[in-house]
Symmetry: C2
Subunit: 190 residues, 2 copies
Amino acid sequence: MELLKKAIMERGRAIGTDIIQVDMFLNHQIDIELLNEIGREFYRIFEKVPINKILTIEASGIGIACITAQYFHVPVVFAKKGQARNIGNNVYSCMVHSFTKNATYPVQISKDYIGPGDNLLIIDDFLANGQAILGLKDIADQAGAVISGVGIVIEKGFQGGGQLLRDKGLRVESLAIVDVIENGTFQFRE
Amino acid sequence: MELLKKAIMERGRAIGTDIIQVDMFLNHQIDIELLNEIGREFYRIFEKVPINKILTIEASGIGIACITAQYFHVPVVFAKKGQARNIGNNVYSCMVHSFTKNATYPVQISKDYIGPGDNLLIIDDFLANGQAILGLKDIADQAGAVISGVGIVIEKGFQGGGQLLRDKGLRVESLAIVDVIENGTFQFRE
């Protein structure tokens, strides 16, 4: 998605060889006009696939999922991180390891909002090692739901998550894949 | 907002005398069509007020803020909870006490995304004791930004937050105010 790559190049910051800082338009401050174009693009990609619910994980996936859901006219469900979030015991849960934070945390979704017959589009801002998406897949499997697709805004092509998820048969579509970060610039996959 | 009150009555659950569970359409599963009407209503209420940015706090405020921001054509900034979230040291921060969780946690916003000259509309899903909004007010004060208004989806009228914030001169507009929860039903303020 050219508009997104332009935003990453012009407004994003490359830090070292592995950090893509897009705090200024995607995951701290949010450029809503750009987010609308992102939602529209996810719809263009996945409109022919059966999808009755969009699934994401708090926190930075929620805005993208909500804006995207408008195009599909389906509800959003967001998975909650951490324990004891007033969602009761009637939950599907899994443990997710974050390499970035070097920590493992629980992820939960109420059984009321995901189940057999659901065709899910998973949406998230970043794909790096793929552990969060694997966690959502685990929960979808527990629930007997089908993952129709995975829509990612920015994939770190130099980390293993994309390959890992595609090898498991998931249809992963990333709007921008950064293959190399070097001298403060990004190289995108064509 | 009648549509919202109807959703709370028909789909929400009253638990004990102080819990309003709206997980099924607002803060776990999200009804996007309803959220759009909520965003439209916030715009109707605040459209004449100078607003160049919508401020919220992760996680459940983000979706509401993003949908609302489409009507105002302004960016969203969401405050981050907890420490060490890769936003660096260039931050405004405060401590917020949650009575519900009986815990105090730090809240941070990068100095890059809030500053003098900003006219903020604060958006959140719930107003109970008002501590989270007070925290955002503290940060706005540190940044020299003005709070033009506070838009709340559901206010617990039987807790002190609404009064506390209004006494501080904030314009707080809640789309539904629940004054009493009794025998599994909600009484709304007219």
